[in-house]
C-alpha cells in the first residue's frame, strides 16, 4: 500500500510552499539591479557558493550564532531546525534503502510507519534506523517543549521579554507544536499494531492498551499529523516562519556581495521576511533595558515594516546605536531599514532658502572641523589647538566662527535633501581650504564625511590622527600613572569600525583597563543624535544605566572619543570624563 487519503493535506501544503518559494525567489532575483545581477552571475560558480552553503548549514540549521549568545535558545532553535532536517534526510534514506527500485513519493518517508509494515523484519539495519529516528524525534520534541516553556516563562531563557504574537503567527506556531506530538502518537500506535517501532514508539505503543491501538485510532493521528503539516506549510508565507526559506536566499545574496542599500526594494523584502523574531534584539536594546520602552525594538519595527505600516514612533524612537544589528543572528541591516523608513515618512523639500554663506580664504595642510557637539565641550578644542601647535602642524579651523552642521542629523531625520545641501556647502568649504587631510573631533561628522561626502582627501577622526602623531614621534609624551577605561562611541565603533586606534593611543598614555561593555558590545550614552522621540528622563535613565554597567568606580578617568558621550556622562559621573585629546594634552612633555 503506497497511498492513503490522509497524505493529501501534506501534499497540498508542500506543493503550495514549494511553488510559492520558487515564485518569490524568481521575483527577487529579477527585481535586482543590473549591477547586483552581474554580481550574482559572476559569483554563482565560485567558492562563494560553497561559503554560502556552509553558512546556511551553520546558521539556518545549527544556529551557531544563537548558541553563542544564549545556549539554551540556540538548542531550542537547533533542535527544531537541525533535528527536523535530519528526520527528513534520514527518513528519506531509510525509505529508499527499503524500496530501492520503487517509485518513492515525497510523502512516503514522512509517513513511513504507516506505509512500511514489514521491511523492518527483512533488513538487519532497520533497528538502527528506528533507533536514530526515535532519538531525533525526542530531540525535536524537546525543542517543542522548550518553545512552549519560553512562551510561558521567558525568564527561563534569561530573556527579559519574548516577542508578542499576532493571529497569523499563532496558527503556524500551534500547528508546528502539534506536528511532532501527533507524529509521535501516530507512530506509536502504528508500532503497537505492526510491531515496527523504535525504542520510544514501541514503549508508548505498549503503554496504550490494546483497545486503543486500533487502526481507526492510528488513522486519526495520521490525519492530525498530515493536517498540521499542511496548515503549517500553507500559513508559512504570512507568518514569521517565512524566515526559514528567506534566510537561505539572504545568506546566498550576502555571500555574493548583494546588500541592502538605499533603494534596493528586493533585498529589503528578503531581509524583512528573514527576521525569525527570535527576540534577541529586545534584550540588547538599551531603550528596553534602561528606559523600559518595549514597543520599538528591531523585531517589532521590522514586523510593522513587513506589514507596510510605516509607524512614526517605531522609526524615530531609536538611537541607531547599532547594538541590535551587531547581535542579530540573521544579520539584518536594521539601521538601514530605520533610515529607509525615516526617509519614507519624512516630507523633505530641502531648505527653502540657504541662509549660510561659508567662505574659506586661508589655505593649510590640515583642515580641522570640530563639529557642533565639540563646540559644547570647548576643552576638547583647546586641547586640539595645543596639540596642533606642539606638533608644529600647518592647520586651519574650518568651523570656528560660522560653521554649519555636517548634515548627519538631518539625514537621520530622513531629510536627505537637506542633508545633501548641507554636505555640498561644507564640501566646497573643505575643498577651498586646499587641505590634504580633514580631521574632526566628532564621530558623527566623521561618519558622514567618509560615507556621504565622497571627498578627495582622507578623513580622520582625531583619535586616529593623534595615534599617528605619537607613532611618528611628532609629539613627545610621557605616560601618566593613572587607570582609565575607554568607552567606545557608537558612531566611531559600530559605525566606523574604529576600535584599535583609540586603544593604542590610550595604552601609550596611561594604564588602560578593559571592560566587558567595550568594542562591538559597547553601550550607547543615550544622547545619540538619531534619537528624536526619547524624553530627557528616558535618556538620563540610559546614561545612568550605562555608567553603572561600565563599572566606573575603580578607575581614575573615563576616556571617550565623542563630545556627545562626554557631555552625557559628566552629567551623572563623579569620575572625570575626558576626551582622548584632553588626555594627550595632559601627557605632552615640552
Amino acid at each position: 500500500m503506497t497511498f492513503h487519503p490522509f497524505v493529501l493535506p501534506f501534499i497540498a501544503g508542500l506543493s503550495f510552499i514549494i511553488i510559492y518559494f520558487f515564485y518569490k525567489t524568481y521575483h527577487w532575483i529579477s527585481g535586482l539591479s543590473d549591477s547586483d545581477k552581474k554580481k550574482l552571475r559572476n559569483s554563482i560558480f565560485t567558492q562563494k557558493t560553497y561559503y554560502a552553503a556552509k553558512e546556511v548549514f551553520l546558521e539556518s540549521l545549527l544556529h551557531r550564532k544563537i548558541f553563542r549568545i544564549n545556549p539554551l535558545l540556540g538548542y531550542m532553535h537547533a533542535s527544531l531546525a537541525f533535528g527536523w532536517f535530519l528526520l527528513i534526510v534520514i527518513g528519506n534514506l531509510e525509505s529508499r534503502l527499503y524500496h530501492p527500485s520503487d517509485f518513492n513519493p515525497p510523502y512516503y518517508p514522512i509517513f513511513l510507519g504507516f506505509f512500511d509494515t514489514d521491511s523492518h523484519h527483512t533488513y538487519w539495519y532497520a533497528p538502527i534506523f528506528k533507533f536514530i529516528m526515535n532519538l531525533l524525534l525526542i530531540i525535536v520534541l524537546s525543542g517543542v517543549l522548550l518553545a512552549l516553556l519560553k512562551r510561558l516563562y521567558a525568564g527561563l531563557f534569561k530573556m527579559k521579554k519574548t516577542t508578542h504574537l499576532k493571529m497569523a503567527d499563532k496558527i503556524p506556531l500551534y500547528s508546528l507544536w502539534l506536528i511532532f506530538p501527533a507524529r509521535l502518537m501516530a507512530e506509536s500506535v502504528a508500532a503497537a499494531i505492526y510491531q515496527n517501532g523504535g525504542f520510544l514508539t514501541t514503549s508508548i505503543g505498549k503503554l496504550l492498551s490494546t483497545s486503543l491501538a486500533t487502526e481507526s485510532f492510528m488513522l486519526t493521528f495520521y490525519w492530525l499529523y498530515s493536517i498540521a503539516l499542511g496548515i503549517f506549510f500553507c500559513s508559512l508565507p504570512w507568518s514569521r516562519y517565512m524566515h526559514i526559506p528567506s534566510e537561505v536566499v539572504l545568506i546566498f545574496f550576502r555571500n555574493y556581495g548583494i546588500h541592502n542599500t538605499e533603494n534596493n526594494k528586493e533585498l529589503q523584502e528578503v531581509e524583512l521576511l528573514s527576521c525569525s523574531r527570535c527576540g534577541i534584539c529586545i534584550d540588547t536594546c538599551q531603550i528596553m533595558t534602561s528606559a523600559k520602552v518595549n514597543s520599538i525594538q528591531a523585531v517589532y519595527f521590522l514586523k510593522s515594516l513587513r506589514e507596510k505600516d510605516y509607524d512614526r514612533n517605531k522609526a524615530f524612537n531609536c538611537l541607531m546605536c547599532g547594538r541590535c544589528e551587531k547581535i542579530c543572528p540573521v544579520g539584518i541591516s536594521i539601521n538601514m531599514h530605520r533610515q529607509q523608513s525615516r526617509n519614507h515618512i519624512s516630507n523633505d523639500k530641502g531648505f527653502l532658502e540657504t541662509a549660510w554663506h561659508l567662505t574659506q580664504k586661508k589655505k593649510a595642510k590640515i583642515a580641522y572641523f570640530s563639529g557642533c557637539m565639540t563646540r559644547l565641550t570647548p576643552s576638547v578644542i583647546v586641547a586640539m589647538k595645543k596639540i596642533f601647535s606642539a606638533a608644529n602642524e600647518n592647520w586651519i579651523f574650518l568651523d570656528e566662527n560660522n560653521g554649519i552642521c555636517c548634515g548627519r542629523p538631518t539625514k537621520l531625520a530622513g531629510l536627505t535633501k537637506k542633508a545633501s545641501e548641507l554636505a555640498e556647502a561644507n564640501k566646497s568649504m573643505i575643498h577651498e581650504s586646499g587641505a590634504d587631510l580633514l580631521i574632526s573631533s566628532c564621530p558623527i561628522c566623521v561618519k558622514t564625511f567618509t560615507e556621504d561626502y565622497h571627498l578627495n582627501l582622507p578623513v580622520f577622526h582625531h583619535s586616529v590622527y593623534l595615534n599617528n602623531l605619537i607613532k611618528a614621534k611628532k609629539i613627545n609624551v610621557q605616560k601618566i600613572p593613572i587607570q582609565a577605561i575607554y568607552h567606545d562611541p557608537c558612531e566611531l565603533g559600530r559605525g566606523l569600525h574604529i576600535y584599535d586606534e583609540p586603544r593604542q593611543l590610550l595604552s601609550s598614555l596611561l594604564n588602560l583597563k578593559t571592560i566587558h561593555y567595550s568594542a562591538e558590545n559597547a553601550l550607547c550614552c543615550g544622547n545619540s543624535v538619531a534619537g528624536f522621540h526619547l524624553s530627557s528622563q528616558e535618556k538620563d535613565m540610559i546614561t545612568k544605566d550605562a555608567l553603572i554597567k561600565m563599572n566606573t568606580k575603580d578607575c581614575d578617568i573615563i576616556a571617550t572619543a565623542c563630545p556627545m558621550c562626554k557631555k552625557s556622562f559628566v552629567k551623572f559621573e563623579q569620575t572625570k570624563v575626558k576626551d582622548l585629546a584632553e588626555i594627550l594634552e595632559m601627557a605632552i612633555t615640552k
Binding site: 527653502l352 557642533c372 559644547l376 560660522n402 554649519i404 542629523p409 531629510l415 543624535v529 524624553s535
Partner: protein, 110 residues
Amino acid sequence: MSFGFNILKDRQIDFDTNDLSLARFLSLYEPSFRLCISCGGCTATCIANHHSGLSLRKIFILINRGITADIKHELDNCMLCGKCVIACPRGVNTRGLILKISELTKNSEI
C-alpha cells in the same frame, strides 16, 4: 503733525483671534513643550541662529501666544544638530518638537 516719534503698535495678545491649537497639540503629544521657561539657552547655542536668525525661544513663545503663521518658514532653517537639546536646562525635547511641527505641516493641519 510729527513729533519725531511714534506710538508703538498695540502688542496685546488677543486670545479670541489667536490660534492656540498648536500649543495644545504639542503639549499633548510632546509634553516637554510645557517645561520651557524661555531662558534662551537653545537660541544662544544654535548654529542656525548664527546664519538665519532662527530663534527657538521666540518660536516657542509665539506658539504659546497662538501666533503661528510664520513658524514653519522660520523653522525650516533648523539643521537638527541637537545642540539645543543638550543645552536645555529643562529637558525640552526641542528636536522632537521641531519634527512634530513639520509633521503637522505635512498633514496641513497648521
